[in-house]
């Protein structure tokens, strides 16, 4: 299936057709989800209305992790099979994943403040998400740190793979660290088991986020491919005027041979 989309032209055609559907679906699902989260879902017995933050925070956390796994998988495909679009997908996805991670951290902070009185809680999950944020930043920084774009892409792919291997180790060590330093009260940003009335809007928001991610990813990938093609055209020109360009650059002898 992947090889069918290796052709950038075909990808552009298919993604161009799919784009408006993703966008419309994302808008519709998010609209439903927002109304549900903000108005229909009941307040929590203990946390009151502040529990509505969970409807943003938890789906954002799910997205931040899933997108990183996507970046890692795309990087593996890029390194092992040299699929031409895999690197583009990984590089397009990373900033979106970082944005979800940032939202997760900020909403986690806003959720924790009324509950535990501090703006930052070194809760095991929030801490893991913080490290994930740095994994994203490292990937993005590394890809953009080289003048040679291919070198940056390949280094980034390798870093993503190293990161995904490291991820369960980080999760384990952060959980370990958290239980060591656990104060008397259990500081968990999850609360008790979620009732169905809260689970449904959560899932709707999650689906909405996924559709939005899909739309943003295709948008970004298409932009990258357009920009690369434009750059190639500017540098090398169309076949029709390549001869003139060669003549201008190297002098007559070479062009006429």
């Amino acid at each position: 299936m992947l090889s069918r989309f290796a052709n950038p032209a075909r990808f552009m055609r298919v993604s161009g057709a799919a784009l408006p559907w993703f966008g419309a679906a994302a808008a519709a699902v998010l609209a439903v989800g927002l109304v549900w989260s903000l108005a229909i879902a009941p307040p929590d017995y203990q946390q009151g209305e502040s529990v509505r933050i969970m409807f943003i925070h938890v789906p954002a956390a799910w997205m931040s992790l899933s997108v990183y796994l996507l970046v890692a998988m795309a990087s593996a495909v890029a390194l092992v099979w040299r699929h031409p679009l895999a690197e583009v997908a990984a590089q397009a996805a990373a900033p979106i994943g970082a944005a979800f991670t940032l939202i997760c951290l900020a909403t986690g902070s806003l959720w924790g403040r009324p509950m535990w009185g501090t703006w930052w809680v070194w809760d095991a999950r929030l801490t893991s998400v913080l490290v994930l944020f740095f994994l994203y930043l490292g990937y993005i920084a590394l890809v953009n740190a080289f003048d040679d774009r291919d070198r940056g892409a390949r280094a980034g792919s390798l870093l993503a793979l190293v990161g995904v291997v490291n991820l369960p180790i980080i999760k384990f060590s952060v959980d370990w660290w958290n239980t060591l330093h656990q104060p008397a009260s259990v500081v968990k940003l999850g609360g008790p088991t979620i009732a169905t009335s809260m689970l449904l809007p959560l899932l709707v928001m999650a689906v909405g986020f996924m559709l939005l991610f899909g739309w943003l990813l295709l948008l970004r990938m298409r932009t990258i491919l357009n920009e690369r093609k434009a750059e190639a055209l500017r540098l090398y020109g169309q076949p029709a005027n390549r001869r003139e360009r060669a003549e201008a650059l190297t002098g007559d002898a070479v062009a006429r041979s």
Binding site: V131, L135, G138, D147, A155, W176, W177
Partner: protein, 221 residues
């Protein structure tokens, strides 16, 4: 084997010849540790509580500082190309260089850590665990640091980039190493922590050279 040892000895000689390499690492480590009492106050109980963490964080920072000399000089003058062309597999060459790096970085840090522990009021009970932990964990710092150093070869502003890339890799050794010291002080027993620390190093031993060599090949292409 001879080629492996040859590369190891060559890197060791280069680092020691300049003398300043080891001195820089030890100097930074010492300074970083000594700054903390000025920062948090000299109260003995407080320092004792955070001593393990202070020394481990300082060791981490000193390790990060020393990473740029692992591959950068050889990459710049073409030595890395020669190493890659030699019959010794690149993974083993990377391991030889990383081992030499550890002998001139992690090992000296481990040796002077008991002395520095005195300055941060670490309970004498905690010193053996601290030293053993550093002995088990600093090889991991060199191994994992090698991956980051290789990935950032030829990058613009590699210094900041290496720190950012290596930070998530260094978290587990930090957590287990400083946790071990704290556990020994509270009487909980540091065994589990040290075991996990050892596991990290053992896992890194075959895997890190693989990733490092892959990164080196990308840099040399």
């Amino acid at each position: 084997m001879a080629a492996f040892l040859g590369l190891f000895r060559r890197d060791l000689r280069l680092a020691l010849r300049q003398g300043g390499e080891v001195g820089l690492v030890l100097g930074f480590f010492t300074l970083a540790v000594l700054l903390f009492p000025f920062g948090v106050g000299p109260e003995p109980e407080l320092l004792d509580r955070i001593a393990g963490g202070i020394i481990w964080v300082a060791a981490l920072l000193a390790a990060v500082l020393s990473l740029d000399r692992l591959f950068a000089a050889d990459h710049a003058d073409g030595g890395l190309d020669l190493i890659a062309l030699s019959p010794l597999p690149l993974e083993l060459s990377a391991l030889a260089k990383i081992m030499a790096h550890w002998v001139t970085t992690g090992l000296p840090l481990t040796v002077i850590s008991p002395l520095l522990a005195l300055f941060v009021n670490l309970d004498p009970e905690g010193i053996p665990v601290l030293t053993l932990g550093l002995l088990l964990g600093t090889p991991a710092l060199s191994l994992l640091g090698g991956i980051a150093a290789a990935l950032t070869l030829g990058a613009r502003r590699p210094g900041v980039l290496v720190s950012l890339v290596v930070l998530p890799l260094y978290l587990p050794p930090l957590i287990f190493g400083s946790g071990a010291v704290e556990a020994s002080l509270t009487g909980d027993g540091a065994y589990a922590h040290l075991l996990l620390l050892g596991a990290v190093t053992l896992a890194a031993l075959p895997l890190a050279p693989l990733a490092t060599a892959a990164a080196l090949r990308q840099a040399l292409d």
